[in-house]
């Protein structure tokens, strides 16, 4: 089941690249095909979700095959509630993104075939990352996601894309390098303890020495902190988001960056509980810095894409804070937060991306009074913005409040500082809306036309889910709670 789920988009990507490339209509066929593939993946994932037993906290639908025997590497995949949450996020967002990106102007008349194929490859790799229960398999899939993103930014982005892609690659490779060291270290420790194995189930049986555990944990954390992105390792994100297409930004920030926070749980808390406990005060402090720093930098941004990127730095701060507060409430909240943030940031990147491509500028000051001529666009920007500021009634509120409430029970000062973020969030969202959408329509903003039916079709599912999960979040929480309880139960 899981292998099928991961294989659909990757095989689909190969097929799409084989389709004839050339004129617009042929490229349109490729785009249709890619959308079709992503919908098939969505269907397969929904079947998997239907078969998933929500009350069991452990891994289900496990598949295991020996892979590289001398290394002890297995092709071992399985789904728990946390992984399924993120798989669902991935398969929901990919068709949305593909639909929204139908008319993306690609630089230098590049073919759309590869553009959409890379996105599908990324989807497949993301599914593999979220389901891998073997450290080596995880590492390989984790690093492999860099390739599609590198090309999506470097080949299809806007101005400054090559430099941004390089920055992205180097940052993440450096983080990955430390993780590689830890992965190698895991082999040594595992081989010492008996038979070498990278399977999570085997690794979690090993009694690490205290220092070894800390070192290995830090190796993994380095990669995750860059990916997540945790202050001060975040600076690649605004650069990358400012040069990528909106579709790429969504896949990068909403899905792939979640690998960082997801990894913190599966390959941090689950594998190295003692070290995670040891590091948690520092990580929580950095998370709170991220929350406030990201929000302030968003307020101070003049470029819309950078603004949205900084809001994510702030939101990732909440996610990390909740994970490392180690309470059922906050950690469940963080997992739900990953899902909700994925939706709300996707909506925000996509709608601002449409604004920017119409206007030909990403500067906030290039807009003004747009609601007059584009009421639907302004309405969706407002809803996406309100979800970003965690308005009660919308999905992100539930997760953010859980994170704060859970954190408050273990660390009042940090929770209080994090709560200040809700005022800053109101400022960055409403100032953006005010400056771009309200007031008299400016001469230069007249070129902005309202959303097309296709764009509305792409964004509506996001809006519906954001509102729906704001009022009825419990099905998602039921999925998350048992898995989180199991992870937290392993902590000292």
């Amino acid at each position: 089941m899981i292998s099928l789920l991961a294989a659909v988009p990757i095989v689909g990507a190969l097929l799409v690249t084989l389709l004839p490339r050339g004129n617009r209509s042929q490229q349109l066929v490729a785009r249709h095909a890619a959308l079709g593939v992503s919908l098939v993946a969505l269907a397969v994932a929904l079947v998997a979700a239907a078969r998933f037993d929500v009350d069991a906290g452990g891994y289900q639908m496990v598949e295991e095959h020996s892979w590289i025997e001398p290394l002890g590497a297995w092709y071992s995949v399985g789904l728990n509630g946390i992984g399924l949450t993120l798989v669902l996020l991935t398969v929901i967002l990919t068709p949305v993104v593909l639909l929204a990106a139908y008319r993306d102007e690609l630089p230098g008349n590049r073919s759309a075939n590869s553009y959409v194929a890379w996105m599908l490859v990324l989807e497949g790799l993301a599914i593999l990352v979220f389901t891998a229960t073997d450290a080596f398999l995880f590492y390989v899939a984790f690093e492999a996601t860099l390739v599609p993103i590198y090309f999506l930014i470097g080949s299809y982005g806007g101005k400054g894309r090559q430099k941004a892609a390089l920055t992205f690659l180097l940052y993440n490779l450096l983080g990955g390098l430390l993780m590689l060291a830890a992965v190698v270290g895991l082999y040594v420790v595992s081989a010492d303890a008996g038979e070498a194995s990278y399977r999570l189930a085997d690794l979690s049986q090993i009694a690490f020495g205290e220092n070894t555990e800390k070192l290995l944990f830090l190796g993994f954390m380095a990669a995750f902190a860059v990916k997540a992105p945790l202050w001060p390792f975040h600076t690649w994100l605004p650069e990358a988001a400012a040069s990528a297409t909106p579709a790429t930004s969504v896949l990068m920030v909403s899905v792939i960056d979640k690998v960082g926070t997801f990894g913190m749980i599966r390959w941090g808390l689950e594998l190295f509980p003692g070290a995670a406990d040891w590091a948690s005060p520092t990580i929580m402090a950095l998370a709170v810095v991220s929350i406030v720093y990201g929000a302030l930098a968003a307020i101070g941004s003049t470029d819309i894409r950078r603004l949205v990127a900084y809001t994510s730095v702030s939101h990732f701060g909440f996610i990390i804070l909740g994970i490392f507060a180690f309470t059922q409430t906050s950690t469940s909240g963080s997992v739900l937060y990953m899902f909700n943030h994925g939706l709300s940031t996707a909506a925000l990147f996509l709608v601002t991306g449409i604004m920017i491509s119409r206007r030909g500028s990403a500067e906030i000051s290039a807009f003004g009074g747009v609601q007059k001529i584009a009421p639907v666009m302004s309405g969706i920007l407002l809803i996406a913005g309100l979800s970003s500021l965690s308005l009660p009634g919308l999905a992100p509120f539930v997760s953010e409040f859980l994170v704060l409430a859970g954190t408050f029970t273990v660390n009042v000062p940090l929770a209080v500082i994090a709560t200040l973020g809700i005022v800053l969030a109101a400022v960055y969202v409403l100032v953006l809306y005010q400056r771009t959408m309200t007031g008299p329509l400016t001469e230069q903003a007249k070129v902005v036309t309202d959303l097309t039916a296709r764009e509305v079709a792409a964004l509506t599912p996001l809006v519906v889910v954001i509102i729906g999960l704001g009022l009825f979040p419990q099905p998602m929480l039921d999925l998350v709670n048992p898995a989180v309880a199991l992870v937290l139960g392993g902590l000292p």
Binding site: K372, I422, T438, G439
Partner: protein
């Protein structure tokens, strides 16, 4: 009793109007009005049912579904039921919200007739009513917070309804952001409840108070008060309310006078278990109320904009309610009583102001009015009745409700009591000034303005509200309202007013207040009624007037204490992040980048990237091996 139906009507109305296309423009306002009216009728039905129950059996709880849960109830995990509680306090609010709300819907049919976004306007009004009902019916603080933020959203959307006006958009944002400062208090209070009591259900929190430490209770009280200050425009979070007058006038009447801004008072009264247990928190509430009642009254004296004068008045009147709520069991019922009567007469006067603006081509400057009593006879009459009610003319609703608060304040502390008496005098002054400038004297409007009475659809709601302003005192007959609220706020002891060892009979207090009110009326009449009012705002005025005109410099303080430092820090940080931190971290990345650029001369396309990848891969492996060997 099906409680959720109350919320369902307007919620459905809003959803329908927001998603239905242009074809519903013709009848959208009717759907919205019907939705609000249906909710009112259902509110009446429930109210009658509640009346029929025993005194001690008037709390009905309805749990719809589990909203948010990270574990079973009572296990220490976070667990919130989407639950409603219908009790005497909620019942009064339901009737006030849907009753006044429906009247204002009707009025808006006329007022917004020529606005091409009227359907949207009614959708937001419905959204507001639904959210406000959630707020007052909530059985859990987090559900209350949902309504709390919902009304905040509706307020934001409606203040900024005319988004093309930069001033309206700015006012809407300001209202939301200032309220968010208060929300910090609300949010932290709920977190503290969860931490200390393991629940956020209102009744359960009330039961847990007995076992909590004094510090916890006081912290809870102060945090809730911070939230209340934001929503109810109390000092120091008052600055948004005057700007909120940018919204269409029916909005000012419904949200920024009769209902939403009183939510802070509701919160304090609803949390009476907490405030009963903390004298410090109660004292803080009294101080906030007292300061705001005087500050709002002073602001009201200096405004030439009719809506802003009324907004200052609203602040001040809510100050009275807040003060009463801060008196504890002696004041809760009177706070709610004044809240209800104020809802009637202030909604009446705001709608009256809207009727005047309607007649005066949307001019809000009272210096351009004068002598409108003949041109707008109905508006004059209804406004006049509201005026008599607010100044506390004997027999009118405000007379009873304000007197009760003053009496309770005097019994609590003579100086606080005297300050509320003074406030009544200032109220009489600014309201008489407003009446005189608008309806009395000579006409000061230009010849091209042709004031005309508003259509029936607008004047009928005015008449109904005027009648309620006159008769609202009935609620006090036989102490009905204190008895009615007793199951919620507890028994109210009657406290004697003792000044200097002399016991003052209630009638003596009333006489004193009436005397001060008469003085306020006389001074205002001498200044603005008998003398000719200048057509333009005079420049040379006393420091006090200037102080009042600038809203006591509240905005200036915010600007220098909060806005400028934050924005400066934010801009600096954004620049530092892009050019400082990023540069520093990528310093050596740049070096490698330059190396790669150098290689471009003999490599093309993406090969250089591959090369880079290989290079880094090799580096990674080497380092990894080093780590392993070193180990």
């Amino acid at each position: 009793m099906i409680i959720w139906l109350l919320v369902a009507f307007p919620a459905l109305g809003a959803a329908l109007l927001l998603t239905w296309g242009k074809e519903s423009d013709r009848f959208g306002h009717l759907i919205a009005t019907a939705a609000s009216a249906a909710s009112f009728v259902w509110g009446l039905v429930l109210f009658v049912q509640l009346l029929g129950r025993d005194h001690d059996d008037r709390t009905v709880t309805e749990s719809l579904f589990t909203w948010i849960s990270t574990g079973p109830q009572g296990s220490g995990a976070f667990h919130v039921e989407m639950s409603f509680v219908y009790d005497p306090l909620a019942a009064l609010f339901v009737l006030l919200i849907t009753g006044v709300g429906t009247l204002i819907h009707v009025y808006s049919i006329g007022y917004m007739e020529h606005d091409d976004r009227r359907r949207r306007f009614f959708a937001f009004l419905n959204l507001f009513v639904a959210a406000m009902l959630v707020l007052v019916l909530a059985g859990d603080y987090l559900v209350l917070f949902l309504g709390w933020e919902g009304v905040g959203l509706a307020s934001y959307l409606l203040i900024g309804f005319w988004q093309h006006k930069p001033s309206a958009a700015a006012a809407a944002k300001k209202a939301f952001v200032v309220n968010r400062v208060g929300d910090i208090g609300m949010a932290l209070a709920i977190m503290l409840m969860f931490k200390e009591f393991g629940t956020t259900e209102i009744a359960a929190v009330g039961d847990s108070v007995a076992g909590a430490t004094a510090n916890t209770i006081t912290a809870l009280g102060l945090l809730l008060l911070l939230g209340a200050c934001g929503k109810s425009a109390q000092v120091p979070l008052q600055s948004w309310l005057l700007d909120a007058m940018e919204g269409p006038t029916p909005v000012s009447a419904l949200i920024h006078a009769a209902t939403m801004v009183t939510a802070g008072v509701y919160l304090v009264v609803r949390s009476n278990a907490i405030f009963d247990a903390s004298e410090t928190a109660r004292t803080a509430v009294v101080i906030v109320g007292l300061v705001t009642l005087i500050a709002g009254a002073i602001i009201g004296c200096a405004k030439d904009d009719i809506k802003k004068a009324l907004a200052g008045s609203t602040m001040s009147q809510i100050g009275y309610m807040m003060l009463a709520a801060g008196l504890g069991p002696a004041g809760y019922a009177f706070a709610i009583f004044h809240l209800v009567t104020h809802g009637f007469f202030k909604a009446n006067m705001f709608l009256g102001a809207g009727s005047v603006m309607h007649a005066m081509d949307d001019d809000v400057n009272m210096r351009h009015y004068g002598a409108l009593r003949t041109a707008l006879p109905v508006t004059f009459a209804t406004f006049g009745l509201g005026y008599l009610a607010i100044i506390g003319f004997p027999g009118f609703s405000g007379f009873f409700s304000k007197d009760k608060i003053i009496e309770a304040a005097l019994a609590h502390n003579v100086w606080i009591g005297l300050a509320t008496v003074l406030g009544a005098g200032i109220t009489a002054f600014y309201m008489t000034r407003l009446m005189a400038m608008t309806f009395a004297g000579q006409k000061r409007w230009k010849d091209e303005v042709h004031p005309h009475e508003s259509p029936r659809v607008m004047t009928v709601p005015l008449m109904v509200l005027a009648a309620a302003s006159v008769l609202g005192g009935i609620l006090l007959l036989g102490d009905w309202i204190t008895d009615w609220l007793e199951p919620v706020v507890g028994h109210t002891e009657h406290h004697e007013v003792v000044i200097g060892g002399v016991e003052l009979a209630p009638i003596a207090v009333s006489a004193l207040v009436t005397l001060v009110v008469a003085a306020g009326v006389a001074i205002a009449w001498a200044t603005y009624g008998r003398r000719e009012v200048e057509g333009e705002t005079p420049e040379k005025v006393s420091i006090l007037t200037r102080f009042a005109r600038n809203d006591l410099y509240g905005d200036t303080v915010n600007e220098w204490v909060a806005v400028r430092p934050t924005m400066g820090l934010a801009r600096g940080l954004a620049r530092f992040d892009q050019h400082g931190l990023h540069r520093a971290i990528t310093g050596f990345v740049e070096l490698i980048g330059e190396g790669a650029t150098a290689m471009r001369s003999w490599q093309n396309g993406f090969v250089r990237s591959y090369a880079l990848g290989v290079f880094l891969g090799a580096l990674a492996l080497t380092l990894a091996l080093l780590v392993v060997i070193w180990r």
